[in-house]
Amino acid sequence: MSTETYYQLVLIVGWSVLGVMGAIGLWTVFLVMREDRARARDATVRQERRIGAPDRRAHAETR
């Protein structure tokens, strides 16, 4: 293998591996953001349930 081919091969492999790592990294960031949104949604639902329950009880008592 000539030196020039070796240099080109190293750089092509190097940048490709870095690209793959970057793509997986972005995908992981997307996964974390999706989980954060799901957690926020769950927290909102739980809070609404907590607030909603006494209101319904109070409404039943006035009736």
Binding site: T3, E4, Y7, V10, L11, G14, W15, V17, L18, V20, M21, G22, I24, G25, W27, T28, V29, L31, V32, E35
Partner: protein
Amino acid sequence: MNPMLRWFVFTIAFGLLPFGVSVLLQLLSGRAALVPHSPALLFFAVMICAAQVGAIFSSFLDAQGSDNREILSPLFGIFLLGAVFSAAMYGVYMHHDLNDPGLRWNTSCSRPGVKVDGCSQWLIFSVNLFTLSVWVAAFAGVLGTWSEWTRSRG
């Protein structure tokens, strides 16, 4: 101690120490060239990736970490690949350094004014290797910090 502070002090700062000392010595000796610093940056990348591989592996073993398996698995893969890749690039750099065409004439192509056959090609590859090392180190630093932050908040 705050996990993020611990990360910055014991991993980022210590990992960048060889690069910092190398740059400082170059500046003090009046030969401010960035290209010879590739191994220090690759060392930083290996250190970050290896630290994250170990930390994520520990997270897999405890109960809380196993809940985040979907996120930790690709991160584990990236850092394992990053550690092997950075170490391989370190090997490429050492091989490249030993094949300096200037060594036949007891000099180095990285010295200014040296004109030996094959030096221009050797120097271009040195610059390319340095650029790649900067990107690998930056990627490892940013993703390692983000991974640490993701794991520390649970």
